[in-house]
């Protein structure tokens, strides 16, 4: 997915020492559904661990990024989905 970075968390580390960065990305696009065009808007919680987190550190609010990864639930008691990023690409820097 792609979108605009709207929130950047504080860098933290996993107990084993891998960097972790939580960000939020707002996605806006036009998609086709049952043959007709429609607007799509959503904000997706994103987690980056390891190399992606290091890359993510360079991000600024407003940057447009393209992300590849997978979805997983936030936790045992939370069905909310989080996008885990494997690959991050900067499409356009803010302003």
């Amino acid at each position: 997915m792609s979108g605009e970075v709207i929130e950047i968390g504080v860098l933290r580390h996993t107990p084993a020492g891998l960097p972790v960065l939580n960000v939020r990305v707002a996605h806006v696009s036009e998609q086709v559904e049952a043959g007709s065009k429609r607007q799509v808007q959503c904000a997706v919680p994103v987690i980056m661990i390891g190399e992606p987190a290091k890359a993510g550190l360079k991000l600024k609010i407003g940057d447009r990024v393209s992300l590849q990864g997978f979805l997983s639930r936030r936790g045992l008691n939370s069905p909310q989905l989080v996008l885990h990023v494997n690959k991050i690409e900067l499409i356009e820097e803010e302003g």
Binding site: P15, A16, G50
Partner: protein
């Protein structure tokens, strides 16, 4: 002649050997053939005949005579321990000996470490030395400058300095001495803190008793005066004194005064402390007070040579004050005149392996055998001890007030953590109180009795938890070292980068340990100087004294510490103690948990406001109204003890009964229980005075891959229990136990 020898083997028997040489005293070390090897033994009996056939008796290989035999008094004490704790005499004996004496070779007596000028040497004029004897001159001048020198320091002067030293010793100019002259200055209650001024010895003057006196001896409070007067008035006979003094009431000063009285009579004093960490501090106070008879320490952190040297100095009567941990209770002291057990309630006086003795109880027996007084000191005596005092067997001496005039006991307040949001385990009121102290230039202690970063590592995705493979405990995360450690069996592994169960990388640390509290405080109080003191940060030799000095010197604002810091320390600028969650003990299955919690909190609370500045204690708990906390707030140990004793009496727990625990362990619980059930069946009807309970798994079921259970037996009569245990033990030894390891624990403290 036949020597009946005790060997360090788990068999409750002596071994007969023949000896053709000259007479051998009981207590002498001998080398004997034992199976395919040679073993060192101690002669327990000397006789003419043996039940064994003459051709089956082997000869003693060698008699060691380089040190005097184990004296009769210690032999008697060890026999008592062997009988009372139902532990083989050989193992009991060897448990009491320094490691060096357990070796199968003659002792190489440790070389003297320190040297000083003798009276003659001090008069010697360097000018009388030949002009070419440069090294000798330098050594003599150097020795005149300082009290004493280490062997290495002398060697460092010049390659030929050791030869010069030898020449001086032959001239009688230099003598060996047991300790280094100048101890690092340590603030004592009445001295100006932390100055590097002259050593106490230089400041001292000669007191009436001939001892050098430190001018900073504090005056006694009326209660201290009364206690000293009472104890010193009855030094000729066995008495048990319970010195119950609130924290900061100056128990140590009472000890020092009674020790002084005993030294004046030419007696030796044995001082037992619960932890090695407490010895340096107490040692310094003793040394400052009695520079002419500096205390020798005995604990397991000494090197083999040092320990042997101190042991022998005690045995020869040369050391007048012996200060040590529980093992020191077995030190030979020919002129023993007084035993002091400081913090007598402390569980570390009980050895939890091998000979499971209580050094406090053995100290009382030893005092009785030697017909000398014993002083048990504590702010929170063990309920057994308190009960003995109530029953009149021990005499209670109370120090109800703090010794420094104007120092009040700290005010204790509770922070209800059921209602407040915590920031990594710390509440806002506690943080505010910390900031206030920092602003005033005072010190605070945040007490949390769990070292490491977090007690649990878990996976938020699948629920995996860092359990130890070999114990029923959890692995504790030590984040700085990135290790997971089991505090029970010593398992130690890297923190996994991903959940071993589902692969999730973002693992979660749950709960608080000292490292995490330290980190949180560093984040929330960025300007404060924070020091963590726990067994990990104090692991390196001399690390702890250095950290304590930092605190004394005011180089620290907030100390994060475990029980390592709870006892005995006297930090004048420390005015706030914060206690992170201590609730666990309130719902423990162990009937002593409340007693321990009270003692621990009282002790740690006692660190606050010991000098002129008033102290405050903030305890974070979910149960601020708990009766234990209420008694704590009133500083009411007698009230707490009374309610606990009432409960114990109702439930028929010690001290209203006497207990022994048959502990058993094996790889599988089934086998353990099978053995314990068989053991329970060995009880005959004649044992009507003894109650045998059902086998029960231990509170920690698995430790180091072994499953553990126990069988509790108890009786209202100690004699009946002892008689029962003696027979029962023999029957147990006959039981088939294959993979099961078992031990008897008399007067158990842990279940």
């Amino acid at each position: 002649m036949i020597l009946r020898v005790a060997l360090d083997v788990p068999l409750n028997t002596l071994f007969d050997y023949s000896w053709q040489g000259s007479a051998v005293a009981i207590g002498t070390r001998v080398l004997v053939p034992f199976g395919p090897r040679r073993a060192v033994g101690v002669v327990a009996e000397v006789t003419d005949q043996s039940a064994l056939a003459a051709d089956r008796i082997k000869a003693v290989s060698r008699v060691f005579t380089e040190v005097p035999p184990l004296p009769e008094e210690i032999f008697r004490l060890l026999r008592f321990c062997s009988d009372y704790y139902h532990h083989p005499l050989g193992e009991t004996l060897f448990n009491a000996l320094p490691t060096a004496m357990r070796q199968t070779k003659p002792l190489t007596l440790p070389k003297a470490e320190f040297f000083r000028l003798s009276a003659t040497g001090r008069l010697a004029d360097p000018a009388t030395l030949p002009a070419r004897a440069l090294v000798k001159r330098r050594l003599l001048l150097r020795l005149r400058e300082v009290d004493s020198l280490r062997r290495e320091e002398i060697a460092a002067l010049s390659p030929s300095a050791p030869a010069a030293l030898k020449a001086f010793i032959e001239l009688g100019w230099v003598e060996e001495c047991s300790v280094h002259g100048e101890p690092p200055p340590q603030p004592s209650p009445a001295s100006e803190g932390g100055s590097n001024g002259p050593s106490p010895r230089l400041r001292g003057e000669v007191g009436r008793g001939g001892q050098m006196h430190d001018r900073t001896i504090p005056p006694l409070t009326p209660a201290q005066e009364q206690a000293v007067y009472t104890i010193n008035g009855a030094l000729d006979e066995f008495r048990v004194w319970l010195l119950h003094g609130v924290t900061g009431s100056g128990k140590t000063e009472v000890y020092l005064r009674t020790v002084e009285a005993v030294l004046q009579r030419g007696g030796q004093v044995l001082v037992l402390v619960p932890e090695i960490n407490l010895t340096p501090q107490l040692e310094q106070r003793f040394r400052a007070r009695f520079p002419a008879s500096p205390p020798l320490s005995l604990h397991s952190n000494l090197s083999g040579g040092e320990r042997l040297k101190n042991y022998l100095a005690a045995q020869s009567g040369q050391a007048q004050i012996v200060l040590g941990t529980r093992l020191a209770v077995f030190t030979p002291l020919p002129h023993l005149g007084l035993i002091i057990v400081d913090e007598e309630h402390d569980a570390s006086f009980k050895q939890q392996e091998g000979l499971r003795y209580s050094a406090r109880d053995v100290a009382v027996i030893r005092a009785k055998q030697a017909n000398v007084p014993v002083v048990l000191g504590s702010a929170t005596p063990a309920l057994e001890t308190w009960h003995n005092a109530q029953a009149g067997r021990y005499t209670l001496l109370s120090l109800p007030e703090r010794a420094v005039s104007g120092a009040a006991p700290p005010e204790i307040h509770f922070i209800d953590t059921g209602r407040l949001k915590l920031e990594d385990g710390l509440s806002d009121p506690l943080l505010a109180a910390l900031r206030e102290r920092i602003a005033r230039g005072e010190q605070s202690l945040v007490f949390i009795n769990r070292r490491g970063y977090a007690p649990v590592l878990m996976c938020g995705q699948c629920g995996w938890i860092s359990a130890c493979q070999r114990c029923s405990g959890r692995l504790v995360a030590h984040l700085r070292e990135r290790r997971l450690r089991c505090h029970h069996c010593g398992h130690d592994s890297r923190i996994p980068s991903a959940c071993p169960s589902c692969g999730n990388l973002d693992l979660t640390l749950l709960g608080q340990g000292t490292q995490r509290v330290e980190e949180t405080l560093e984040r929330l109080l960025p300007d404060a100087r924070i020091l963590r003191v726990d067994r990990d940060s104090a692991r390196r030799k001399h690390a702890l004294p250095a950290m304590l000095k930092q605190i004394h010197d005011g180089e620290v604002d907030v100390v994060v510490g475990t029980q390592l810091l709870a006892k005995g320390h006297d930090f004048k600028k420390l005015t706030l103690v914060g206690v992170d969650n201590a609730d666990g003990a309130l719902y423990s299955a162990d009937f002593r948990a409340a007693e321990r919690l009270f003692a621990q909190l009282m002790q740690v609370a006692g660190r606050a406001g010991r000098a002129e500045l008033p102290g405050e204690v903030l305890i974070q708990t979910q149960f601020p109204g708990h009766p234990l906390f209420m008694a704590l707030q009133r500083h009411d140990f007698p009230g707490f003890a009374e309610s606990q004793l009432a409960e114990r009496r109702q439930a028929d727990f010690p001290p209203y009964c006497y207990q022994a625990l048959l502990r058993a362990e094996a790889p599988a619980m089934e086998k353990v229980l099978e053995f314990l059930r068989a053991a329970a069946e060995q009880v005959s009807e004649a044992d009507a005075q003894v109650t045998v309970f059902d086998p029960t798994p231990a509170l920690m079921v698995r430790v180091a891959g072994k499953e553990r259970a126990h069988l509790l037996v108890q009786s209202a009569s100690r004699a009946a229990l002892q008689a029962f245990l003696k027979n029962w033990r023999e029957r147990l030894e006959a039981l088939e136990s294959r993979s099961v390891r078992w031990t008897l624990d008399v007067d158990p403290l842990e279940f």
